[in-house]
């Protein structure tokens, strides 16, 4: 397979993702669960970046990148990468393999993989189990122009870049 030339969205080249993307201001969340996680991180004032970097994980003999991996979130203050996967098991296996490869090639980065069960537990903790089903798996994949499942806010509201402004009644964190 021939690697594609690097682009802004795929700086390391490789095959572009075949995922539906949500058209929003700021990041384009490919899945409703990612938007929900972004809302949670925003709520607790944890800064995040959405897919800021692509890690090449496989090259051909010509040195071109043929496979790469873009973790969903980077939390700069915690120097932590998060990958959220709520899709079916076959895709999870593929993602696990990619993640192993990333860890082999980039041992210095800290990355956590959140599975559907982890996301469900998060929703249970926050009393949002009722919307969890609509945020997980194929149901959570969002087609362009459709609102995010389980969201009270518009996609534009939830797709901030993690630098949310503080309302007056919020006590600032030093």
């Amino acid at each position: 397979m021939v690697a594609e030339a690097p682009t802004r969205d795929h700086p390391a080249g490789g095959r572009p993702k075949r995922r539906a993307a949500v058209l929003v201001e700021g990041p384009r969340f490919a899945h409703a669960s990612e938007a929900e996680l972004a809302r949670i991180l925003d709520f607790y004032m944890v800064r995040w970046e959405y897919e800021p970097r692509t890690f090449p994980i496989l090259w051909n003999l010509d040195g071109q990148v043929v496979e790469s991996f873009s973790p969903d979130f980077y939390l700069p203050d915690l120097d932590l990468w998060l990958e959220l996967t709520t899709l079916r098991q076959s895709l999870v296996r593929r993602k696990n393999r990619k993640l192993r490869r990333v860890r082999e090639l980039y041992p210095m980065i800290r990355i956590k993989l959140l599975y559907a069960r982890d996301f469900r537990a998060l929703m249970l903790k926050y009393g949002r189990l009722d919307v969890a089903a609509s945020l997980i798996g194929a149901d959570g994949q969002v087609m362009p122009g459709t609102p995010l499942a389980g969201s009270n806010a518009s996609p534009a509201d939830v797709a901030r870049s993690g630098t949310a402004g503080e309302p007056a009644d919020v006590i600032p964190v030093a």
Binding site: M45, D118, K125, R128, P167, D169, V170, I171, V173, A174
Partner: protein, 186 residues
């Protein structure tokens, strides 16, 4: 709407009342030794850590002051109004120059505590440490250094001894695992 049943809704008892009592005594002895001669303030995070705080402070044999804080949780009523975590009840006295110990019932994602640590550090305590009765590392998103830990627990939804589901079950004297049917049927 399903009616909660305190006994029937518990799938198993994870930590008994006796085990909790013994652990709290152990922590009290250790804290009394470590903070001997220092100005210790225990800060409890409402509501879940209330029973732990009440027992722990009585197991400590050196002079302490106590204070209470409450922080809004994601998904709660405050989520819709601001979209950001809020201090619902702040400290009632200054902690500047004091040795502060945050008393927590459980640490799972670490998100709330990460926020609280940043907030309390801004109030210039002499030291700031954490005492958690329960540690659920499987759920951790933010790495938090726990200075005093009661029990490390598996990845189950636990209730009792202050921990709730829908504000119920806090008054159980032990730590139990909630039956999954309770949250799938409600």
């Amino acid at each position: 709407m399903r009616t909660p049943d305190l006994e029937a809704d518990v799938a198993e008892i994870l930590i008994t009342e006796q085990q909790i009592r013994a652990k709290v005594q152990e922590l009290g002895v250790q804290l009394s030794r470590d903070y001997e001669g220092r100005s210790l303030t225990l800060v409890s995070v409402l509501k879940g850590s209330l029973p732990f705080m009440a027992d722990l402070m009585r197991a400590i044999t050196i002079p302490v002051t106590i204070d209470l804080m409450e922080v809004s949780s994601y998904g709660g009523a405050a989520t819709e109004t601001s979209g950001l975590v809020r201090i619902l009840k702040d400290l009632s006295a200054s902690i500047e120059g004091r040795d502060v110990l945050i008393v927590e019932d459980i640490i799972d994602t670490g998100l709330t505590l990460n926020y609280l640590l940043r907030y309390l550090r801004g109030k210039n305590p002499r030291s700031l440490r954490i005492c958690a009765l329960l540690d659920k590392p499987a759920r951790r998103l933010v790495e938090i250094e726990i200075d005093y830990r009661g029990f490390t627990i598996p990845d189950s939804f636990v209730i009792g001894y202050g921990l709730d589901y829908g504000e119920i079950y806090r008054n159980l004297p032990f730590i139990g695992v909630l039956r999954p049917e309770v949250y799938t049927e409600s």
